[in-house]
């Protein structure tokens, strides 16, 4: 059919520098229905990144092209790179078909060979030892990959893996669409015997380091680093990648992008994405107020900043969009149930202790002071209105009652010292140090108010703030912290099943029980600890959930899991997260005005930035 393209591309095609658009598009391009209207070509999407370590946020703007992607409302998934994505009855065999004639951004064909290359060199190559992609494994073993033809491949699991499609759509979870064989071959010893030499020329110690770095799968941040030479399938590809310049990064339209709008215009509409690297969020805030940013929510959209952003709408030429919260709670209090200290461990594992602490919180005050009254007292849970809502989980122990909290604590740790602080079983003052990542400003504010509340019931609660990386080291890898606070998790729908961190310790994000999570992943690990029966039951339920292929079945088990979570009461929280916001320039069109806020559903990528345009 007659496809249309951007003027600049048309020019190049006319000159012969590019093949004609029909040849660049796959035989069956993905047709996108614009949110409002068919747009026009041109313009830059001006964005910013704060700090060097936040490159993973690029997945939100530029790099969400999995085989299947989430729908804009996060109710499920829809086809994207894949033309077809089929599962068998018991979710053990998946058959996936790619688009014929689909090409990388340098014009090379994208085929099952690329998938196979990834499978061989990344997923299963022990030398390279790149981690992750757990959804490709059951019982720690990778699924089997069968290449049927250039476009078709089969993934076979030994055991049912019903969450596989949902997880494939999770942000950054789909390596298969980001591993250009023809480019990466040169760095791998199996494909290029001189790979070591190539590596050394580029300053690497060995081909392994070079391959890891060039593939960029070892961690979220490095995928984009210095990546302008790496072909991709995204709507925009880097011309100046982060790292090649430490001040700004620029991505330009991909002439081979595989999507068109309903009128046959090749997407994306906008010419470029321009990122400024900003060191401090306050500068970004000013830049936003000045109108230098087109659409953003990260870093700036805090409750505290809303007032100034609101006042500057005129000058900045922007307005707000709504981000519905997907997090389980504004802030979750986490006690270390696997504490090294025996006395503390026993105490923290006591459900009544946690319940008493929860009862000691005056949630309404916290909500009024920090959230400007937005929010409602709740524990980390699925939100009201969601089919999975569990009232007990959401509301138990949210009533503020100092006397009751004291009475509950008196049953467990009645003794007090001369300053009226409670003593633990060993006669030591019960000091609970909450270790907090200092970048989370809202936590710091909440804790300033929370600490006196805990002290009022005789607990010597203290807060230590620290840099993010130190916090990661201490809390995620350590066993010696008393307690911490965190957010995320999920409050409903698909997300709750994919990220049940506060309902069962399924992965290392379950800070309250790192040793149990480890046991779940790898029972043989030296640091793993066998969880108690009721937790084992939760984990078993999650295994069952993963094996279910149908949505109804998954929901049924999830309900049981949530009820178990209510009984276990691992963690407690403050409030249901209020909706957040972002700013978008008035000239930006085809923007979805209400969308979830999440990393897994990489806001706003599933609302299809390729069809954004500037009026």
């Amino acid at each position: 059919g007659g496809y249309n393209e951007a003027a600049s591309l048309k020019e190049q095609a006319a000159k012969g520098a590019l093949p004609p658009v029909t040849n660049r598009l796959p035989e069956n391009p993905l047709v996108i229905k614009p949110v409002e209207s068919v747009g026009k070509y041109g313009g830059d999407w001006k964005l910013a990144l704060v700090g060097g370590g936040s490159l993973s946020h690029l997945f939100r703007y530029q790099a969400y092209e999995p085989l299947v992607r989430y729908t804009p409302d996060w109710s499920g998934i829809t086809l994207n790179v894949a033309e077809a994505f089929d599962a068998n009855e018991d979710a053990t065999v998946y058959t996936i078909r790619l688009r014929k004639g689909m090409k990388w951004s340098d014009g090379q064909p994208y085929t099952t060979a690329d998938v196979k290359f990834w499978y061989d060199t990344v997923l299963t190559d022990k030398r390279v030892a790149i981690t992750g992609q757990g959804h490709w494994k059951t019982d720690g073993k990778p699924a089997k990959l069968d290449i049927v033809d250039e476009q078709t491949f089969k993934v076979t699991f030994p055991r049912s893996n019903g969450l596989f499609p949902l997880q494939m759509a999770w942000s950054n979870n789909d390596h298969t669409t980001r591993c250009p064989r023809h480019y990466l071959e040169q760095f791998h010893i199996d494909y290029n015997p001189k790979a070591d030499e190539v590596a050394r020329q580029r300053g690497f110690q060995s081909w392994i380091a070079a391959f890891q770095s060039m593939a960029g799968f070892q961690d979220d941040n490095s995928f984009f680093l210095n990546s302008s030479a790496k072909p991709c399938l995204f709507a925009w590809k880097f011309k100046t990648a982060p790292g090649e310049n430490t001040e700004r990064a620029v991505a330009e339209r991909n002439p081979y992008y595989f999507k068109v709008d309903t009128e046959g215009n090749q997407l994306p509409y906008m010419d470029r994405i321009v990122y400024q690297m900003v060191a401090d969020p306050q500068v970004l805030l000013l830049k936003t107020m000045q109108g230098e940013i087109d659409m953003m929510d990260l870093y700036i959209a805090t409750p505290n900043n809303k007032a100034v952003l609101y006042d500057a709408r005129q000058q900045g030429g922007y307005d707000f969009y709504t981000l519905t919260s997907t997090e389980a709670n504004v802030m979750t209090f986490i006690f270390n149930l696997n504490h090294e200290d025996e006395t503390k461990r026993a105490l923290f594992r006591n459900r009544n202790f946690r319940a008493a602490m929860s009862t000691a919180l005056d949630r309404q005050t916290l909500i009024d002071a920090v959230l400007v009254g937005q929010g409602a007292p709740a524990q980390p849970s699925v939100k009201q209105g969601d089919p999975l809502y569990n009232e007990q989980l959401a509301t138990q122990f949210t009533g503020y009652d100092v006397d009751k909290a004291n009475a509950m604590l008196d049953e467990i740790i009645p003794k007090r010292d001369d300053q009226n602080f409670r003593l633990d079983d060993k006669g030591r003052r019960l000091t609970v140090i909450f270790e907090i990542d200092q970048a989370r400003a809202i936590f710091l504010d909440l804790f300033q108010l929370v600490i006196p509340m805990f002290q009022a019931v005789g607990i010597d609660a203290q807060m230590r703030t620290m840099d993010r990386s130190l916090w990661e080291t201490r809390v995620r890898q350590g066993r010696s912290f008393d307690a911490t606070a965190h957010q995320f998790g999920a409050n409903g729908g698909v997300a709750a099943m994919l990220d049940p961190r506060y309902y069962a310790p399924t992965d290392s994000n379950a800070f309250y029980a790192p040793a149990w999570a480890l046991w779940y992943v790898d029972p043989t690990n030296a640091n793993a600890e066998e969880p108690p029966e009721e937790t084992k039951k939760q984990l078993e339920l999650y295994n069952q959930l993963k094996a279910k292929a149908d949505k109804a079945g998954q929901q049924e088990i999830m309900k049981q899991l949530l009820q178990g979570a209510a009984e276990n009461f691992y963690v407690f929280g403050v409030s249901q997260p209020p909706d957040s916001y972002g700013i978008v320039k008035n000239e930006m069109k085809n923007i979805t005005k209400i969308m979830p806020s999440s990393f897994g559903w990489p806001t706003p990528a599933p609302t299809m930035p390729e069809q954004f345009y500037k009026a």
Binding site: G52, G53, I130, D280, L286, A526, F599, G600
Partner: protein
């Protein structure tokens, strides 16, 4: 003289070794290494981490070597190949990153130095000559206000002013529209528009100290007999002061020039973060926070080495200016 320079250069070698060792030690002080923060980020996005793989990565990065082996490897790379190591965070050789930022750092440092001198010299001279006059008190007061207001607060306030009342694009050294443009007159003007805030802020804290020291030194010199001699020749007053006591009172500043670089880099880091300046400070700060050890270590080493050179240069300059030192 030549012997003296040679001797000083020889002395620099052990000093540099000491510095490299200390820089390496400092960056190893925090628990963990780059790998731990990398693993942390990996887990953040829900990836499970296999301990065996961690061990492999450690080996590849050389993190399981003992401290001194890592240090020696690093030093050997620098000495034998000029290779300062690998930046984990930026996935690049360290040297490219550093040199890119060093230029702007030096430019900003030098410009603010010039600014500070231009402002502080006349004021310092005035304050010394008219000690305890109203003008002296006013300048002292203003200078100290600059010293007392934390410069990041000043930076923020000035940026807000620039945004609110001047409608200027804030932060960085160029407006977005000029970021990719080649150098032109308009770009230079835009550059200057961005430069005044950092220069004023860096200057604000520096001038007070300079004024004070100059005032003190000059007060000591003003009543020396050789000044009266100059006056007795019939020289006009301004010449008397500029040619004789000021010349001598400046010596301590000349000898301090060499030490300015580390102060500027440390002092300016915060401002650079707030103002989003592409200088060494923020990059060094990031590298430290993320434990990007070779980047951080090389930065520290390079700054120290530059300082040493600066110290040598300023000592030589001083000898050039003050014959008493030259001939001792």
């Amino acid at each position: 003289m030549l012997a003296y320079i040679l001797k000083r250069i020889l002395y620099m070698i052990p000093t540099l070794i000491g510095m490299s060792l200390i820089s390496f030690m400092i960056i190893q002080l925090p628990p963990g290494d780059y790998l731990t923060s990398m693993i942390a980020t990996m887990s953040e996005s829900g990836q499970a981490v296999d301990p065996a793989q961690i061990a492999r990565l450690k080996e590849i990065y050389g993190f399981d070597d003992p401290f001194y082996i890592q240090y020696l490897k690093w030093m050997w790379g620098i000495v034998s190949r000029g290779d300062f190591g690998w930046s984990f965070e930026w996935n690049q050789p360290v040297s490219g990153l550093i040199w890119a930022r060093m230029g702007s750092t030096l430019v900003i440092s030098l410009l603010s130095l010039v600014f500070v001198w231009i402002v502080a010299l006349p004021i310092g001279i005035y304050s010394a000559v008219r000690r305890h006059s109203v003008g002296d008190h006013v300048f002292t007061f203003l200078g100290f206000i600059g010293l007392a207001i934390p410069n990041f607060i000043l930076a923020l306030a000035l940026m807000y002013v620039a945004y609110r009342f001047l409608g200027q694009s804030v932060g960085g050294l160029n407006s977005p529209e000029f970021a990719e443009a080649p150098w032109s007159f308009a770009k230079a003007i835009d550059f200057l528009h961005h430069l005044w805030i950092p220069i004023i802020i860096i200057g604000a804290s520096g001038t007070a100290a300079l004024i004070r020291i100059l005032r003190a030194n000059l007060t000591d010199e003003l009543h020396k007999p050789y000044v009266v001699t100059a006056r007795a020749k019939g020289l006009p007053e301004y010449k008397v002061i500029l040619k004789y006591p000021v010349r001598i009172a400046l010596n301590p500043f000349v000898s301090a020039i060499g030490w300015i670089l580390p102060h500027l880099v440390s002092g300016v880091t915060i401002i650079a973060i707030v103002l989003n300046l592409p200088t060494a400070g923020p990059l060094l700060f990031r590298a430290l926070v993320s434990q990007d050890m070779y980047l951080a270590g090389s930065f520290i080493l390079l700054l120290s080495a530059l300082t040493l050179v600066g110290v040598l240069l300023s000592d030589l300059l001083l000898a050039l200016l003050d014959p008493r030192i030259r001939f001792n």
